[in-house]
Amino acid sequence: MAQDAPRFHVPAPHARPGDTPDFSHIEIQPAGEAKRPDVDVPGMETRDLALGLIGVLDHNHQAVGEWDPKLDAEVLREGLKHMMLTRAYDDRMLKLQRQGKMSFYMKSTGEEAIAVAGAMALDKGDMVFPSYRQQGMLFARGRDIVDMMCHCISNSRDNLKGRQLPVHYTWAEGNFFSISGNLATQFPQAVGYAMACRYRGEDQIAASWIGEGSTAEGDFHGALVLASTYKAPVLLNVVNNQWAISTFQGIAAGDAPTFAAKGLGYGLASLRIDGNDFLAVYAATQWAAERARKGHGATVIESFTYRADAHSTSDDPSGYRPKGEGEAWPLGDPIARLKNHLIGLGEWDEERHVALEKELNELVIKSYKEAESHGTLHDGPLSPVESIFEDVYAEQDWRLRRQRQDLGV
């Protein structure tokens, strides 16, 4: 029978279904307050930054403090557009999944700034090892939307030949490494890649993204120890969106004050940033990339954000978190915040915003029509059946050749 009190500690979130969403326990360092050290600062001297919160956009949507990356309005508008496109794309793909057009989908709603600003602040040549919630990077790096959709509906033009679940993109041309379905595995791989960039004497660096829940995996810690030991030119990003499917962040954090603080244990430069603040993400990424390129080693960046939608199309969050929690999130919405900032600068207005939204929605709809002309998962055409035997090895050995014959293709 149930004990009155658990005999060992099991952390629980502040609110569950039926409760009023409550984020009052979250301490938010005001935007503009955090100091910006030089990029060669010893890792341990970033302690305050790992425990605080770097923000640039304040309550009035103004850019404040030392971390302001002072970007041109043109760059800001570009970022806004990529984020809006990411959202329009996600919304549309969800609907299409519900109509049975694809087997599965994962949205990144509320987390667009992390992917888009992260990609924009890196060089296009830098290799990224993303998780499944950074589709915004593909837009920022200019991937063709039709190609992205063809992958998601697993049709004849899917560059992954129907082998991967939707959203598990690969785009070598855009320096976008594969996405593994197995959590955390690519975090230490990014470190190895970064070390190889040094080995080659190239300026290229690597960056990886991992969910806060996945930081519990051994591979997360493996990446940090490698990065610290070899001072690898790599950015190790933790996307703390508060939830890992149904599990709140406290199950992975334990008593650690922040996820960035875990980097300090390895002596790594560690920053905790407002992940819904486009400028903060941009500035922190830029800082860490410069640090890496100049040979001062790796940075752990925790982006503090909120997963505004379900984990995936297989998930229904109403079973584990209160309705309206997303709206109660104290750091707002990344798109609205950048939009308001641009409006405050006199560089944007409602009318243009609505027009752009419309344009992007139309682009997504038009792109899908084109994607579908290359086939759908259910009605085909798909990649040729015999392609399932390709790429297992460079050459097919007798086993695969015989199995292909057995299948009659």
Binding site: M1, A2, Q3, P6, R7, F8, V10, A12, R16, S103, F104, S154, D158, K161, G162, R163, Q164, L165, H168, S180, G181, N182, L183, A184, G213, S214, A216, E217, G218, D219, A244, I245, S246, T247, I251, A252, G254, S314, D315, G319, Y320, L377, L382, S383, V385, S387, I388, F389, V392, R399, L400, Q403, D406, L407, V409
Partner: protein
């Protein structure tokens, strides 16, 4: 008796055991408050408390190790690995630790933990939600490996696993969670509601680990199967009108060679099957042992029906899955030989 699907019967097994034995605890990723992504541990936290059914951090190695530590202290941990495809970070803890504690301590310590995990394809899960990695585990001396094919067996075997003095890797074919499956990709989902093995006693009962069952009697060919393929093999025999005897293995380690040999000696022909890739799969072990025991009764080479030596594809899942057609081809091959 109640009608249950496999999710409900597994949940019932956990409920029955947690009620009877205060040392039984259940944990895993999303397995506490929410009750698991497949809902197998639903309501256990509410009923038995936070420290008996709880969420674990996403670290499969730590989850297995935690089970080992708890079992060493005398608890009966039932750990859930969310998908069998994600068990590999925990493999070292299973290979080097869980399986060997009894042996290397000469019996001074034992760690009878149960590791439950959904396996198998047929749900469009792609390469990371479809694997059948049982052969990795049957290769480890010291762990028992179980894979039921229906709600009734699932409950009885999970209870037996929890009560067993040795560790058990308990595979749950997720394609069968909600209903029986005959291997055709399209069509409506069947229900366990009108299947005899969907009748499940509400209380305690157990089925012996290591015991197979002849689920379809026949005299022309023996098909050895486990998990999802038990139903596929039966359907294939039905469809082809072949008098095949189908054996549901249920336990892979230790497997029931007696039941298999008795059948093969009767039919003189044998097909072994697995959903996993072909090379070094569990079917290979079965074929080797069957020829040792039944060589002189065999009238044709043993055939294997398996997945291909590729990762599990997503779009072409049904070209990978060893469906009824491949069983029928194999039956025809052994019957013609």
């Amino acid at each position: 008796m109640a009608k249950m699907n496999m999710i409900q019967s597994l949940n019932s097994a956990l409920d029955v055991m947690m009620e009877r034995d205060p040392d039984v605890v259940s944990f895993g990723e999303d397995a506490g408050y929410f009750g698991g992504v497949f809902r197998v541990t639903a309501n256990l936290q509410k009923k038995y408390g936070l420290d008996r059914s709880f969420d674990a951090p996403i670290n499969e190695a730590a989850i297995v190790a935690m089970a080992i530590g708890m079992a060493a202290k005398g608890l009966k941990p039932v750990a859930e690995i969310q998908f069998a495809d994600y068990i590999f970070p925990g493999l070292d803890q299973i290979v080097s630790e869980l399986s060997r504690i009894r042996y290397r301590t000469a019996g001074q310590f034992t760690v009878p933990a149960v590791i439950r995990t959904p396996c198998g394809g047929g749900i469009r899960g792609g390469q990371t939600h479809s694997m059948s990695p049982e052969a990795f585990f049957t290769h480890i001396p010291g762990v028992q490996v179980v894979m039921p094919s229906n709600p009734y067996d699932a409950k009885g075997l999970l209870i037996a696993a929890i009560e067993s003095p040795d560790p058990v890797i308990f595979f749950e074919p997720k394609r069968l969670y909600n209903g029986p499956f005959e291997g055709h990709s399209g069509g409506a989902l069947a229900s366990w509601g009108n299947h005899p093995k969907g009748e499940v006693p509400e209380g305690h009962y157990s089925l012996p680990i290591g015991k197979a069952e002849v689920v379809r009697e026949g005299k022309d060919v023996t098909i050895v199967a486990y998990g999802t393929l038990v139903l596929v093999a039966q359907a294939a025999a039905e469809r082809a009108g072949i008098d095949a005897e189908v054996i549901d293995l249920k336990t892979l380690a230790p497997y029931d060679i007696e039941t298999i040999a008795r059948s093969v000696k009767k039919t003189g022909r044998c097909i072994v099957s697995q959903e996993a890739p072909r090379t070094s799969g569990f079917a290979a072990e079965l074929a080797a042992q069957i020829q040792e025991e039944c060589f002189y009764a065999l009238e044709a080479p043993i055939q294997r029906v398996t997945g291909w030596d590729t990762p599990y594809p997503h779009a072409h899942e049904w070209s990978y899955f060893p469906g009824p057609e491949r069983f029928i081809n194999a039956m025809n091959a052994v019957l013609e030989a």
